[in-house]
Every structure is written in C-alpha cells, then in structure tokens.
C-alpha cells in the first residue's frame, strides 16, 4: 500500500453516510472506499413505515443529499456491493464479488436486518419492513386493499398498523404480550397505546402466538394462532424486531456479542477498526453500560463521532478524540400523535406516570437509584427534550460526585 491512508466504510445507511461525510471533510487527502451494501443511495428509514407508507412522500424525498456534493477526489463508492468477510489482522475486507480491499482503518456500519420467524419466510404476501425494497413491495400490495394482519406490536408493527388504517383498510395486530410497544417504551404507556389503536379501529389480539400461515393458491390467506383462531388476511406484515448484521465478521477475530463490541470511543477489539450505528454495541458513558441503539439519531451522531475518533487515531489530532456519550432519542408517529422517548429505561426501579393535564399527553419518567434515566411523552416535545438534557446533566453530576 502507498503512503496514502485508505479507510474502508462498510455500510451505506445513515451511520455510513454520516461517517463518510465527516471523513471527506476532515481528511480530504485520504482514500475512502465506501461499500454501501444496498443498491440505493442513502435514504431515510424512519419515513418508510410512516410518510412513505402513507404515500405522503416518494423516493426522491427520502434520499439524503450526496456526500460533499457530487464526487470528492479521494472517495470511491461501491454501491450495491457488500463486504462478506474481514481479515482483521491482515487488514483487509473481501467483497461479494471476490475483490479484496486492504485498509488502514475500517468502520463497520452494516446495520441490522429484520428478524423473520421461520414459518413466515418465503411466503407470498408476507413482508418484513426494514429496507426501501420492503416498503415499495408493501405499498404495491396495499393498492389491492387487502385485509391486513400485523405480527408484532412493537414500533414497526404499530406504525405500520397506523399507516394502513390511514387507507381505511381492516387491520389486526397479533402480539405475544398483553401490551403494545412494551420494550421501546418500557411498558409505561401500554394502556395508552392499547386505547389509541382501538380508538382508531385496529383489531387487537393480545397474548397470542402465530403458529403458521394459511395459504390459498400459493399466497397468504391469513395466520393461524396457537389457540386455533384463524385471522384472515391477504397481506401479513411482520414486525418481529431486528438482528445486527455481523455474520460477515464470523471468524474475523473481532469481538461480537449481539453487535460489534466497542469501547466508549467506538473502537472495536482490533486497533484501527471502529463501529457505528445499529450494529455497534458500545459503552455509553452516560449510563456506564454497553448498549446497542437502533435509531436514526444514534446512527447519525455515532457515524460522525466514530469518523472523528478514527481520524484522531490516524493523525494524532487529539482535539477530535471524544467518547460517545449520548442520551438516546427516538420518536414515533401514530394517528397524528407524536410519541417520543429519551434515555435508556432498562434497569429502572421506579416509573412516575403523569396524566395530570399539565402536559398535553401522558408522560412517564424512569428512575434508577433516584436518578432520572429515561422519559417518554406524547405531544410534549419541549418537556421531553428538557428531560433529555436533565438526564445528561444528572449523569455528569453523578460521574463528578
């Protein structure tokens, strides 16, 4: 390899886009190879289940601006190609077409993929929602105005149900637990979500397991539940969570455990290799915990932070080196309600629920050992964002004490 530093960024979604943008600005003299995986330009994933699904916007409106305008000199974009293996000690990745690319530094930003239970795989009319191609396929099927069954009452499932109801279609959500959005919102707003979906005409089947799909002429006709109930549906949408895309790192020597393990600076177990976005499990100094966050704001900020730490390591510019200390934030839109969550609720020992009317919607505060660690609110962005800053302030105070 020549004297010119080569950085490979694996992953073309937001964390990769954000990192490449930062790298092009900070080290224009470096050679940057961006292996995007998907064939599309970087697009907004949060919009897929909401604005895009409701046909309120189109692909062009989801596409992020090109990195640094058009074509910076040192940037090579390999669109639609994926990394299939990593040789960490040999400092090289191999692509799906067999090309081997040596690197000085690597950013792993390969994201996560939709989890699909075995009995739902490969059935015509059954779709997960993770990528643009998934969303386009679902939208095309909605045009036939089918009855819709949604498997899983998590974020994707609930947002899809709300979007489908906007077209006036019949929707049934089948959820394993007795409450909706249990994990993302720490169970605190469960009854609010049940009421919200019922009031908007969604049929809820709670505490139920899907056993198999019903087929008719090779296409899905519904789902059979473990208790024998059959729900008729011409379209089945699956929101069964996601898994970090780390299979390509098997045997690489990189430490992986439900995501690529990273320190507070997003550095992996192998020097010069960093990770960011949905695939990264890093130590968040705000909580002193390792976590993996699958949300838009995290991918954006983490891609940028990882890039800066990589440049700091390569050039010795200590002003760029910074631990990634962040209070996670995500939102959901359902039936015109803005639902927001800040912080990390796992390990909370107390929840305070405020429905006093002082705030526009229900508001939950999560505490651990008396310290505010998370908050969830409906239609109260100012309060929620103030609580986000409070979480950060309390964490810094606790660290200083």
């Amino acid at each position: 390899m020549g004297t010119r530093q080569r950085i490979v960024v694996a992953g073309g979604s937001l964390a990769g886009h954000s990192a490449v943008t930062e790298l092009v600005g900070l080290v224009p003299e470096a050679e940057i190879v961006w292996v995007t995986g998907e064939p599309h330009k970087t697009y907004s994933k949060p919009a897929l289940s909401k604005e895009f699904m409701q046909a309120r916007n189109e692909l062009a409106e989801l596409t992020l601006p090109d990195v640094a305008g058009d074509r910076p000199r040192g940037l090579r974009i390999l669109r639609g190609r994926s990394c299939v293996s990593l040789d960490a000690s040999g400092r090289a990745v191999t692509l799906d077409d067999g090309e081997r690319i040596d690197f000085d530094q690597l950013l792993v930003a390969t994201g996560a993929a939709a989890r699909m239970p075995g009995m739902l795989r490969g059935v015509d009319g059954v779709f997960p929602l993770r990528t643009l191609d998934d969303a386009v396929a679902i939208r095309a099927r909605l045009a036939d105005r089918p009855k819709v069954a949604v498997v899983g009452g998590g974020l994707i499932g609930c947002e899809l149900a709300a979007s489908v109801r906007a077209f006036g279609l019949d929707v049934t959500i089948v959820e394993r637990l007795d409450t909706l959005l249990d994990r993302p919102f720490g169970g605190a707003l469960g009854s609010y979500f049940l009421d919200l979906h019922r009031a908007n005409g969604v049929e809820l089947v709670m505490g139920a397991m899907v056993e198999r799909v019903a087929l008719e002429e090779g296409r899905v006709a519904g789902v059979h539940l473990a208790d024998g109930t059959e729900i008729a549906a011409g379209l089945v949408l699956v929101g069964a969570g996601s898994e970090p895309c780390t299979q390509w790192l098997d045997g690489s020597g990189l430490q992986v455990g439900d995501g690529v393990l990273c320190d507070a600076h997003l550095a992996t177990s192998s020097p010069g290799i960093f990770a960011a976005g949905d695939v990264a499990r890093w130590t968040n100094p705000i909580y002193g915990l390792r976590m993996r966050v699958e949300h838009w704001t995290n991918a954006s900020a983490q891609g940028r932070a990882a890039a800066r730490n990589m440049v700091a390591l390569a050039t010795g510019r200590q002003d760029l080196r910074k631990a990634f200390a962040d209070v996670p934030y995500f939102w959901s839109d359902q039936y015109g309600q803005k639902i927001q969550m800040v912080g990390w609720h796992e390990g909370h020992d107390r929840v305070e629920l405020d429905r006093s009317g002082d705030v526009p919607g229900p508001l939950a505060r999560f505490y651990r050992n008396g310290r505010l660690i998370a908050a969830a609110g409906v239609n109260a962005p100012r309060v929620v964002m103030r609580l986000r800053r409070q979480i950060e302030d309390e964490a810094r105070a606790a660290e200083a004490a």
Partner: protein, 65 residues
C-alpha cells in the same frame, strides 16, 4: 447562514432541536421555531449543519450567505 424550513414536510420530530437547541425549538403544537440569526460560533454552526443533514424527513435547507 440562513435556514429554510419546508413547512409541508416538517412534522416536529425535534432531531434538530436535540442537536442545536440554541437554534431550533419545537413547540407543543409541533411547530418548529428557528432562530432569526445564528451566531458566528464555528462549533454551533457545525452543529447546525449536522442538524440539517440529520433531519429524517429532509425538511431543512441551509443557505450559506
């Protein structure tokens, strides 16, 4: 530096507000207020640019003057 908000698109997610609260404020009607003038502070301006590229519905545009 001037920020243009596409009001048809903006739906008050508050991502920008999280990154640069000095400049962006989403009120409880989910209306985004943007500061009229943005101070010459380079650190703040870098965060404002980051806010704009971080908007999940691409509702913000920047005009550098």
């Amino acid at each position: 530096m001037k920020i243009i908000v596409d009001r048809q698109r903006c739906d008050g997610n508050g991502v920008c507000m999280g990154i640069a609260p000095e400049v962006f404020d989403v009120d409880d009607d989910l209306y985004l207020h943007v500061a009229e003038t943005i101070p010459e502070d380079p650190e703040l301006r870098a965060r404002v640019r980051q806010s704009i590229t971080s908007c999940p519905i691409l509702a913000l545009k920047l005009v550098e003057e």
